[in-house]
Symmetry: C2
Subunit: 295 residues, 2 copies
């Protein structure tokens, strides 16, 4: 042992009982303010229970990489929170093989389990699109998230079914974005070039809605008078732009708290029954839709 300069430290203890009171939080895009807001919530709860968060900002492809997970295993993380990734069956199996407790954030209808936490994305999309019709829009388009993510598909399904019900004459118009500001901006420009009569846009997240607003301004289209827009998430930024952007608010803090509590219960092997926590989405009506003038 001396040869290795062995010290009875955290890692060495980890080798024996594998406990470091550390949680790895894996997020896809630190530049999207949704994730920093989520991180703050998770850190607060984790800290109150004596856990430290290490944050891994990761590309989707990394999660398919065997090396990525073996690195996590080798660091003796006590638990893992994976936010907003599409974990395919194989990746899920990889995580399960690690034998480390984990929870996922963003309820994915396709692979729902009790360790998957999030809101009803279908319902959120539905109330967003209904609201656009309520303020008088007639031709509503959708800029979706990446189709690899179940939550994008759920939001898109909410859009398509609501349009089919409320606007029989206009078929759905969907452009696939990637949840970044830039894609919201570029796809709005493309959308209006190809469909100049669109009068309402449902963006699959707030960051794309902010990009969309920038595009509309640069095209000299009056927002919200001529085009109403609505996002999804409820990040603070939607209140800072002009006009303020309507959105479907997720209870970001609660989601983070529920995920962290559930994970720590799993880590500590406490067989506590979970109180069901209300993670309802909520329509926030602001100027970007309320200011629309029906034609």
């Amino acid at each position: 042992m001396n040869r290795l300069k062995f010290q009875p430290n955290e890692i060495a203890r980890g080798l024996a009982k594998k406990r470091t009171r550390t949680i790895a939080l894996i997020i896809p895009d630190i530049a999207n303010p949704f994730f920093p807001e989520l991180v703050v919530a998770i850190e607060k709860v984790a800290k109150s229970k004596g856990y430290t968060i290490v944050l891994l900002n990761t590309y989707e492809d990394d999660l398919k990489d065997h090396y990525f997970w073996s690195q996590i295993q080798n660091r003796y993380i006590d638990g893992i929170i994976v936010a907003s990734f599409n974990l395919d069956i194989r990746s899920l199996k990889r995580i399960e093989e690690l034998g480390i407790p984990f929870v996922r954030i963003d309820r994915a209808a396709a692979y729902n389990t009790e360790n998957s936490i999030g809101v009803d994305n279908y319902k959120g999309a539905k109330i967003a699109v209904e609201h656009l019709f309520e303020v008088g829009c007639k031709k509503v388009a959708h800029i979706s998230g990446p189709k690899s993510l179940p939550l994008s598909l759920e939001r898109k399904r909410g859009y398509i079914e609501t349009v089919a019900k409320m606007s029989k004459d206009n078929p759905p118009i969907v452009y696939e974005g990637d949840f970044t500001l830039t894609s919201g901006k570029q796809l709005t420009e493309k959308l209006l070039q190809e469909h100049p009569d669109v009068d309402g846009i449902f963006l699959a997240n707030d960051l794309m809605a902010i990009g969309s607003l920038k595009a509309l301004k640069s095209l000299n289209i009056s927002t919200p008078e001529d085009i109403a827009i609505i996002g999804f998430d409820g990040i603070e930024l939607t209140e800072m732009v002009e006009p303020e952007i309507s959105t479907v608010e997720q209870p970001i803090y609660k989601i983070g708290a529920v995920a962290t509590n559930r994970l720590i219960y799993n880590i500590e092997d406490a067989k506590t029954d979970f109180k069901e926590v209300d993670l309802e989405v909520k329509l926030i009506k602001r100027q970007s839709t309320l200011g629309y003038i029906p034609k």
Copy 2:
């Protein structure tokens, strides 16, 4: 060894040669978009050289905690980047004792070393305040960062000396903020209650400038016609609000790249001379100052 279920994994190898190709990046406030922008730059460079970043979002007080650093030591991190913290002599000594290469971001005049990277904060403040006088402001106030940070003190000194030179009749007015949106908002309200004749505000960072803009709107003060504001950092958000906010842009990407390259050279013990990289600040004039109407 068997008793410990010893496996020849990353950590075990770390016990011997202490190399994990991992860099710990310690930031003070993930909710301030400056840091996510910096993280993206650092990750890009680190990844291109085969390093992984683990992110620790940390309170200032944690860095004074012996346990915090021993945890880092125990995780066999190869190197550390510390951004925007006030490391006192004792904390610096703690890091040096770890024997792990580290660099600091945000040049701190007080403790300048070759491993401290950042811009000239004094000069940045000077050009911001000069610009406010150039557009016609007569009574310029400052909302500073926390006085515990050398970079705040440098920005404040730039403000005070420039006001003393350019506006002899008006003594400096300084309120101490904490770089958050909320403090920018609340201190702007307080400032205008106590000094209603202020016509220009230099905020020590962009996030506080965005908070200030919100406060001015809620007070029904026309911005920029009646009060001009300018921030510091150059985060993207300054272009999304209305009016767009003038700022002193730091080359965030370059700062991250320089810090990461320097750290990796230190880790790999490459005795390369560093090319001096231009980390100049740059005045970005936008509507929040250009739209001011001199009285």
